[in-house]
Symmetry: C2
Subunit: 143 residues, 2 copies
DNA sequence: TACGATTTAATCGTGCACGATTTACATACT
DNA sequence: AGTATGTAAATCGTGCACGATTAAATCGTA
């Protein structure tokens, strides 16, 4: 039995890949005025809901390692949104904390998800269902 | 009415973002033995199903521009998988064509989607439904 | 307490993505 | 012919992602 080639347009993986690109493009006009990139926005929102985290704890939340996060966090630090301080007591850790400017930005950014939901054209229930299917797929793929 | 911050774990956008990363990680052990990256795999599969394309036509299929594709295609050319030739008649265009080695690789890579579907733990119908929901979301976001 | 194993960040190199610009060419319209 | 308009690819700069390595600090256990 042969195995004919299938175009990306019929692949689930490409649907994920291209929809993620479209999602990031849709976020761009919402985040550009705030000076945030999409991954920076995720880091900011994580720190808004969990105000005290180390680099690796943030990495666990976003599934990113220090090789990605360290430069990203340095850029956010350079913009005055957060501080990176060696832990007193365990010098291996770097504790992250939002500055007042960071929290102010986070408060502004809290309005973004609703704008995005509007762009999806999905009602909240449909969006929630999709989110759960994707979470299941993600868990299966990581297994 | 205030607008409390929501953690990424509850955002649809993060579900997309992190599931796409998990998808690419799941593809890696399937593509590494072939020497392909994930975007290169998409380019290869596109050329397997549409053997004669220009750079911009490939870009239309994958929703990528020449600034991304040119270096990617040069790497694939360096590996001997495809040729890039200026169109005779319209010197602006660059025609892409798989070599024999590229077609042989593409034939091998045609087995990858089935392996991936297995990793998803989804039956084909569920995967197909998800693909369609994502296609709708993508179209809405691009509108 | 000594020392191997583990944890935590940072660093380096490669490969996407994408905005902005550049260069070359083709086409349409005077 | 000559010019404006548009198209196609390449180039440059910035910012993720991620594998591999490094370096420092901590922990566990003999």
């Amino acid at each position: 039995m042969t195995n004919p080639s299938i175009p990306p347009s019929q692949m689930l993986c490409f649907a994920l890949y291209s929809t993620t690109h479209a999602m990031q493009a849709a976020y761009k006009p919402l985040l550009d005025p705030l000076g945030l990139t999409y991954p920076q926005y995720l880091a900011l929102m994580t720190l808004m809901t969990q105000p005290s985290l180390t680099v690796s704890q943030l990495g666990a939340a976003l599934h990113l390692d220090s090789n990605t996060l360290t430069p990203l966090l340095k850029r956010m630090e350079a913009k005055g949104w957060l501080t990176r301080r060696r832990d007193t007591g365990d010098d291996r850790r770097v504790n992250l904390a939002l500055t007042d400017a960071g929290r102010a930005l986070g408060t502004q950014a809290a309005a973004v998800p609703a704008c995005f939901l509007d762009k999806t054209g999905f009602d909240p229930a449909t969006a929630g269902d999709l989110r759960e299917v994707l979470a299941l797929l993600r868990a299966n793929l990581r297994a």
